[in-house]
Amino acid sequence: MLESARSRLKAWAAAGIGTAAAIAVAGVLGAFEARHAQVPVLAPANPIETGQWLLQPVKAYVSSEKYIYGTLRKPGAKALVFELDMTNRTATSTKDYFELLQANQPTIDPATKPYIVLTRDGTLSPELHPGMTERMAYIWDLPDGAAVPASLDLNVMSKIYKQRDNLYGLPGWFNPSAIGTLDVPVGPAPDNAEGQP
């Protein structure tokens, strides 16, 4: 009886010490800092590197044109357009840019998916090719009667490369996380309205 109580105590102590050691090691390795880390504020004038993309913000504006780069609006509806130069930094063509920029705007419902358009000819979400910079437009439809925001507040996301994922053992980009916030002033709509398909 006494023997079994002693061995049980030993086991508990071993488990407790082991757990404490594991938590201490995780703490030393920085497992608890990531949760509280503040993402930096990115300057719109500078190029932004994410895992797969090199981004150069160009301009943001609100447009009430019927066609913006080939995307159709209802009469009277407005859209918030953010143009930027995107360069694919990876070795293969990809269109993994749907989660790249996430709007934080109070006027834009975060569930609203933007149109992502190649400004060259209005192709909707084409693959971008390695090392070829293209001007892209993210176009968010604004809700009816929404006020024109003074600035566009974005979360810039990045993914990490894994040579082998856990499911298929294939290479890929995973685990999106915010690398910074970007605040782009919303300017006047450009005069040369283009985009009639």
Partner: protein, 197 residues
């Protein structure tokens, strides 16, 4: 002594496992496409289709018809246009993907900007005994043109299926960095097989 022997055995097992992990092919390599190699002019025979590259042309712009309206497609690099002739082997099949792999192994997928054309471009339905011509169009960086390989397969993830790998060979560069013989505009409105539309 016995403890030491156990330790040595453990270390040997670790070394063996590490060696196997480093030297053996991974899942992605094992189930990857099976290459069938050839060069321009050869008939490359895969599992379900045969393909012969007739010619390779380069252009700064492409002209194409979209809903009865002529569009000119520009590019930040150069358009590579590969005219091919397909045939199915013993059953009708569809050839749906192609990529351009440059000398530095950057991989440029078939362009998605011409998806509004549905005749003579990928995906191509081919039938046994009936040759069918098609155009493969890639948007590439000018320095990725020489000694490139065109990869053609029936479907996107050609796991354990054959993939035609046709080497283009060296391409001379002109003084402006563009490949020699680059024309200003290539007309895609003409049918590829010379037959009326």
């Amino acid at each position: 002594m016995r403890r030491l022997a156990n330790l040595v055995l453990l270390l040997v097992a670790v070394a063996l496992c590490y060696g196997l992990q480093m030297s053996k092919p991974h899942y992605a390599d094992l189930i990857g496409p099976i290459p069938v190699r050839g060069k321009v002019g050869d008939v490359v025979v895969g599992r379900s289709f045969e393909v012969r590259v007739e010619k390779v042309q380069f252009a700064r712009k492409l002209r194409a018809d979209r809903y009865g309206e002529t569009k000119v497609l520009t590019t930040g690099g150069v358009w590579a246009l590969v005219t091919v002739e397909f045939a199915a082997r013993d059953a009708s099949t569809v050839v749906s993907t192609a990529s351009w792999r440059g000398p530095t192994r950057l991989t440029y997928d078939h362009t998605e900007r011409l998806s509004f054309i549905n005749n003579g471009f990928l995906p191509v339905t081919v039938d046994p005994g009936l040759q069918k011509k098609a155009r493969l169009v890639f948007e590439v960086r000018p320095e990725e043109v020489g000694n490139a390989t065109v990869l053609i397969s029936s479907k996107l993830l050609a796991a354990l299926d054959s993939q035609a790998e046709i080497s283009i060979g060296p391409v001379a560069a002109s003084s402006d960095g563009m490949p020699a013989g680059t024309v200003d505009t290539l007309d895609l409105t003409q049918p590829v097989d010379g037959l009326p539309k």
